[in-house]
Structure formats: C-alpha cells, structure tokens
Symmetry: C2
Subunit: 311 residues, 2 copies
Amino acid sequence: MSKLVIVGTVAFDAIETPFGKTDKILGGAATFIGLAASQFNVDAAIVSVVGGDFPQEYLDLLSDKNIDISGVEIVKEGKTFFWSGKYHNDMNTRDTLATELNVLADFNPVVPVGYKNAEVVMLGNLHPLVQMGVLEQMNKKPKMVILDTMNFWMDCALEELKAVIKKVDVITINDEEARQLTGEYSLVVAARKIHEMGPKYVVIKKGEHGALLFHEDNVFFAPALPLEEVFDPTGAGDTFAGGFAGFLAKTEDYSFENMKNAVIYGSTLASFCVEKFGTERMKKLNEKEVYQRLDQFKQLTQFEIVLENIL
Amino acid sequence: MSKLVIVGTVAFDAIETPFGKTDKILGGAATFIGLAASQFNVDAAIVSVVGGDFPQEYLDLLSDKNIDISGVEIVKEGKTFFWSGKYHNDMNTRDTLATELNVLADFNPVVPVGYKNAEVVMLGNLHPLVQMGVLEQMNKKPKMVILDTMNFWMDCALEELKAVIKKVDVITINDEEARQLTGEYSLVVAARKIHEMGPKYVVIKKGEHGALLFHEDNVFFAPALPLEEVFDPTGAGDTFAGGFAGFLAKTEDYSFENMKNAVIYGSTLASFCVEKFGTERMKKLNEKEVYQRLDQFKQLTQFEIVLENIL
C-alpha cells in the first residue's frame, strides 16, 4: 500500500439547496478527498491550515478515519476558510454567496517528514503556488501526482497553474473548466490540448453526466449513478478525486486499465456524497454499502454484445 | 428474423450548422429509422407519405437497402413535408426555421398487407393519431411496439399522445420531453411516472450525454461516443431508435439484457449519423465500420472491478 499526501482546504461551508440550508458545517476539498480515500484504509496525510475557531471534533473525525493530520497547521489567532453557496433548482449551477480566505491567505504548506516519500500525491483545489510548494517538498518523484483545480485560478493565476499542470500525471477538471483552459468546445480536442500541457491522463468531470478519462488515444467513460434526487452536490468532485487517488494508492497499479477502476470507485463514492449535506453521508459510509453500489454501477454499464454475425 | 413496420416522416430537410448549410436534402424520421434498421438486414417496411416533388432516387435509395416502400403513399399533386433548422454553436440546441406539413396534413397511413402481422412496430415521431392508426391496423398484437415522440405533441395533442403511449412497450423520449411529460426534474422519477402511463421500458435520450434505459427497478446507461466534432445532429435520435428496433427485430430477444445491447447498437449507429449532413454517412455505412465502433464502445465503457477485498 502506498502513502498518499493530500493538500487542500479544510474549511467551513454554509450551503443552501432547494431542500434546505445549513449553518457552518465541515467542508473543504482536503476533507472530502480524505474521507473518500480513507475508505481504502490507505496511509494518508492531509496538508492544510485551519484557524483557532475550528472545532476539535472535526479534527478528531479525520483522525478517527486514520488520516494523519500532523500537517494541518492550526493558526490559533486566525479564522478558518469559509465558503458559502446557494444551488439553483437544477442543482447543476450555484451562486457563491461568500468566500473568506482567512488563514488560507498566508498558507505555507508543510509536508510531514514521514510523508515526503509518498508514492501518490493529490493536489486538491488551491492556489497553484501552494500545490507547487507541496510537490517541491517531496524527496523523491512520486509515482502519481493528481491535480484538481478550478476556473478561479485560470482567471487569476494562469501562468502558475500551467507551471504546476506541467508537473502532474493526472488532472481532474470539469467540462467548462477544460473548455476555458483550452479554448476548445469539443472535450476530445480539449483533452488532447491538456495532454500537451503535461498530464498523461486527463479526467473531465461532467457532474450528473459522468466523467471521462483520456490517455493517449484511449478514452473511458463512467456515468454518474442516476439518482432520484441530488440533495447537495458540494464536495462531489473532491470525493471523486479522493476515491480515484485512494484506489490507486491502495492497488499500486497505475495502468490505464486500473485507472478505469479508479474512475468507477470515484464515481461510486461521489454518488453517496450528494445524498446528504456536506460530509454527513461520507463519514458514516460502510464497506457493504460501497460494494452494493459498485454492483449497481456494473448493472448500469456492463453489457455483453458478442461481435459476431449480427449485421 | 422478425418483420419490422416503421411509420414516420419521409421528408426534405434544409440544415444549417456552424460547419455549413444544405439545400433541401433527404430527411425524415422514417428515413433515418429505416436506414439504421437496414443495417441488420431485417424485413422492414416504411409507412409514410411524400409529394409528387419527391425524387425517385430517394425512394430507390430506400429500396436498395431492402426496405419495403409499398406503404409510402405518393400524392402526385402534393408537396413533401419540409423541415428547416439552424443549430447553435453548442450543437445541442436549434431553431426551427420552417415546418411545412404539406402532404402530411391529410396523411392516412396504410400498413401493407404483408406487414400487418409484423412482430416489431416502430412508431416514429408523428401525430399520435397517425401512430394509433398504424397500431389499429395490425392483425395480431406485435411482440414489441416502440414509440418516439416530441414536445410538440405534448403541447397540442396530449390526450391523443397519452392514449397511444398506453399501448406501447417502449417509449424513446429526450430528457427535456420526459420532464415536460411528467413535470418531474429527476429522470429517475420521470421514468417511473412514464412506466405508470403504460410502457414497460423507457428510454431517455440525453443527446451528447448518452441514453438511459429503465425497466422496473433496473437501469442501464449508454454514453454517446465522445467525438472530436459533431457535424450535424439531425436524425441522431431517429437513427438511435432505428438501431434499437432493428436489433430487436433481428435477434427476436426482448429481454432486458438484450435490450441493453439494442441501446448500444442504437448509440453506435447514431454516432455515425452525426458525422455528416443528413443521411450522407448512414447510407454509406458498412459492417466493418459498425463492428469497429462497437469495439470502441466496449473500450469506452467496460471495466473489470473484482468485488473483493479492496476496501
């Protein structure tokens, strides 16, 4: 089993959906990534920062999942990063109501000594300079570096983003971001242009329309599980990335064939995430539920056409 | 091999896309359905109507594919149905520029005597009273009746549409139409409500986002093949339906498992349709190309997770 380093926000979220609203609850990219990866019992560490206002019980929640949090700096006099958003009725689009960087503004990530040799590094959505800072602390080249990002960094730190993209093996990005990054409408063409920027593997997340994995001329697609209702999409993309990274760290098989499985695990875990507010569903998820849903994914996608004399 | 009756328009289309525009070319739901179904060498007949302005070469094209056109009425003094549309840059939405019903306004479908006992009936998009008229001419209950429709009939002939929906086994409908028909945003819930209206099988077409097949509590999903560019989406939905119906008529296996394969064949054929204007690609399609693309679909969707002790 490989070690996994996760960098990203550990934060407060306040969420409003057509189904209800929350006060400040546990959120953040690294939180969702960590909870998803912890399903695989990998040796994972989160590198992040919180303020003195961050409840000990939230940190305990991560520790209880066997996630190393020695790399989560606590700035006693500071306030934790806060995001607030409101989803529209279609649950595919949202308005950001508030973004308070707080302690994130001066964050200098420090990778714990015991994790500087991790084989898998998951760079969650953060300023590309912070992502680069984590990569530079690794004392050997990781087997697999996965980067998630968002349009915000394309708008305000494009050169820094391109520099870190150049150094990663896998990028996970949503469809609109892939189009913005490349100026191409076709996702097939966009993926090819992103390949040329560095990553050998490109994952394009399409929300309720699933995810595409590109590698050279190969492409694999995993649908999102059709759900009766999506309760809260917050964290679904991070949960996907955490499942993807956790599965690779667990299996230590970085072939395209196994990466297909990683995409399926990521989609499976994301399908749970959206069932409740915030981390509520993920923190109580058990093995049996995951296996049942994996089986649903098989039913959903697998078929048996024999390429014989049908035509 | 079963007989297949296809009812739908045989028409002129004029199409404008970001890639170019056409004069009046061969189009119509029954045309696309017939061309797709003809890939399976089934014994198919089209029931439709054209005007005296319809070129013999278009009729010959259908005959040459072994499609029986004795049920295509030619109204010598009339003009053929004409549709004109312009696609937006995203190729997912379009404006209708012209719809001239012409001979379609007084169309009374007549099923050829030799096809009144067909096992499979494909009711292409037309007035629901015409669809019902075809069903009433069958002299035994077909094994499988498939209905395609569109929002236009929900707006202006909802009761007649519901009456025919009640009598079919499979409905193919796009996502927005499924939402309009049921008032439900969730496609899972919409499919359940449509089941209650009659059809045991519900296929929801999501264009570039693939297609869902629902049956009782089972659901199957086929993606659209990711393409570098979609040249002209006209007829893709009909081509899907024609592939679906043709495959079932060919295999005579109406189980859910085999219907999954029918969905995959439908998606495969539709992926060719959009590569060129109108019927241009479909009329030249050969067996080898279809098999190669089916193999691409396998690569795209099939994975091999062993549900063992990963977690």
